[in-house]
């Protein structure tokens, strides 16, 4: 992928991030998903041409339009070659000239529809969660392979392999991107929401320390979720609840950057860093998400985030515990089990929470030991230190390690 080479040039870099996903969506809708590589090649060529031509002739008045025109012409040339091949060599019936000549419609309405279709095409239930996120980052968010590798703290080859496998699956699935039907939307909406949820979490709980990448991942996920709420076909209670969740979490991104990988104790964050505007947006989407009777895991998580964003309410831990109870009954996850135990400690005290936490048996999980370390701090310093040490052994990220080392040191005094 050519994304990285434009990063030195900030204008082209920004354009690439903004326009690449749109251009891919439009061209894929025209060519079909099985030819996604052709679309990618054409767009990369257009950017390459821009970098050369603009360096000599200066940047045109409307750089995006310039790129679209070049991509459109290259796409038309490609289609002409194909039709020549098909009529003269392969002996097929002459394809509709008008279609080959048809406008690629880089108009804003068409781009929006194409991007929406692309989201549904990319979120293929046949792909693993990891591959889906990689693919979403590349095709929907215009991330380069290098940037994806940085976000995942993994090497280029791994990401390339994941993308290759994911694209093979896309081709084989024969998803119809040109005519996105209400039925195909319904069948994939769950997968789409899950992908956006994972994409956001990848940023919010990212392994990387690069705050810029984390913010960008979250922002991209929110942009895509917003796109879903803008279309009546995809704007349902779950979509709104997911967006509400992202708004609440997003409101604390800045405050989180100030803390250092600590198990997030919201009380300890500088609340003046919370983005009130996003909290209000969260309230708006959550209220709208709760018009019907549906309670999805996004509703529950958004409601938990709501209470965290309103720390003044005295009864909030009781509500949060109740919500975690419901969440764990919908879907088990170790992180939900641990967060529930933390809420339990807030409502019923550390003693009861220790009993419940030790039953979880997540002995290979650093967060499990961190929670037990925290819960034992008051009553049994020896055990607290033991658990913090175990957590330290299981932690890889260095800021989180430093926090644990400092805790052990403080307890040893």
């Amino acid at each position: 992928m050519t994304g990285q080479r434009f990063r030195n040039n900030s204008l082209l870099g920004d354009l690439f991030r903004q326009e690449y996903p749109k251009m891919t969506a439009v061209l894929c809708r025209r060519f079909g998903l099985e030819h996604i590589e052709i679309a990618e090649d054409i767009i990369s060529d257009a950017f390459l041409k821009a970098s050369e031509y603009w360096a000599v002739h200066g940047v045109p008045e409307n750089p995006a339009a310039w790129l679209y025109t070049v991509a459109k012409n290259k796409a038309k040339d490609h289609l002409k070659r194909i039709s020549l091949f098909e009529t003269r060599i392969a002996g097929h019936i002459k394809p509709d000239e008008e279609e080959a000549e048809s406008d690629f419609g880089f108009g804003s309405g068409y781009i929006g529809d194409s991007q929406l279709a692309m989201i549904f095409a990319v979120c293929d239930p046949g792909n693993s969660a990891q591959s889906q996120i990689c693919l979403a980052l590349q095709i929907l968010c215009g991330f380069s392979v290098e940037e994806i590798a940085n976000a995942f703290l993994t090497n280029l080859e791994t990401i390339k392999k994941r993308l290759y496998r994911a694209k093979t699956q896309l081709r084989d699935s024969r998803f119809q991107i040109r005519t996105l039907s209400a039925a195909s939307i319904q069948s994939r909406l769950d997968t789409v929401l899950k992908t956006l949820y994972l994409l956001f979490n990848e940023g919010y709980f990212s392994k990387t320390n690069d705050q810029l990448i984390r913010n960008e991942l979250c922002a991209e996920a929110m942009k895509l979720a917003l796109m879903l709420t803008d279309n009546p076909l995809t704007d349902n209670a779950q979509t709104k609840a997911l967006l509400a969740l992202m708004c609440y979490q997003g409101s604390r991104l800045e405050a989180r950057a100030a803390d250092t990988g600590e198990m997030v104790l919201f009380e300890e964050q500088d609340q003046s860093l919370w983005n009130q505007e996003l909290i209000e947006k969260g309230n708006y989407y959550l209220v709208n998400a709760c018009q019907g009777n549906e309670v999805s895991k996004y509703h529950l998580e958004a409601a938990i985030a709501y209470w965290h964003a309103h720390p003044a309410s005295p009864d909030r831990w009781r509500h949060i515990l109740q919500l975690y109870n419901q969440l764990i009954l919908i879907e088990y996850s170790p992180i939900a089990a641990l967060n529930r135990a933390f809420a339990l400690a807030r409502v019923y005290g550390h003693g009861k929470a220790i009993l419940e936490t030790e039953k979880l048996g997540l002995t290979g999980n650093d967060q499990y030991h961190k929670l037990l370390g925290y819960l034992y701090e008051v009553t049994d310093v020896g055990k607290a230190i033991d658990h913090y040490r175990l957590a330290l052994q299981l932690t890889r990220a260095s800021p989180a390690k430093q926090v644990l080392e400092r805790k052990i040191e403080a307890l040893n005094k």
């Binding site: 109740q322 109870n325 764990i328 009954l329 088990y332 089990a337 039953k359 979880l360 048996g361």
Partner: protein, 115 residues
């Protein structure tokens, strides 16, 4: 891992409508099992009231209410996952139904396989 059904019984029909505190305690207990990833099926409650409980006997005899010759009746069930029946019994022990004089029957589930 084996699966066990926990069958809940109470004696007084008035206890079937729980107080908010009882609801909270039950949910805490149930979620505690789910948090260990040992809840197979949240199960259901079984209404004990005469209009929604009948017992059918031989010779087409139908009586109102749950089986009335015993002094207690079933109000619900869940299914949990455990290595042994003792582990399932330990989970059951922490339920608050005993405060009402109720009891829990623990039964290993034998799965039917279609041949």
């Amino acid at each position: 891992m084996k699966e066990f059904m926990l069958i809940f019984r109470i004696k007084d029909i008035a206890d079937f409508k729980p107080t908010p505190e009882q609801i909270q305690e039950r949910l805490n207990w149930l979620a505690g099992i789910a948090a260990q990833n040992k809840l197979v099926d949240q199960g259901n409650s079984l209404s004990p009231f005469p209009e929604s409980a009948k017992t059918v006997r031989p010779d087409n005899e139908v009586t109102d209410g749950p089986y009335t010759e015993i002094k207690e009746f079933i109000v619900g069930y869940i299914i949990v996952r455990a290595e042994t029946i003792d582990e399932a019994v330990e989970m059951a022990k922490e339920n608050t139904i005993f405060k009402l004089g109720g009891n829990i029957e623990v039964r290993e589930v034998i799965k039917h396989k279609l041949h």
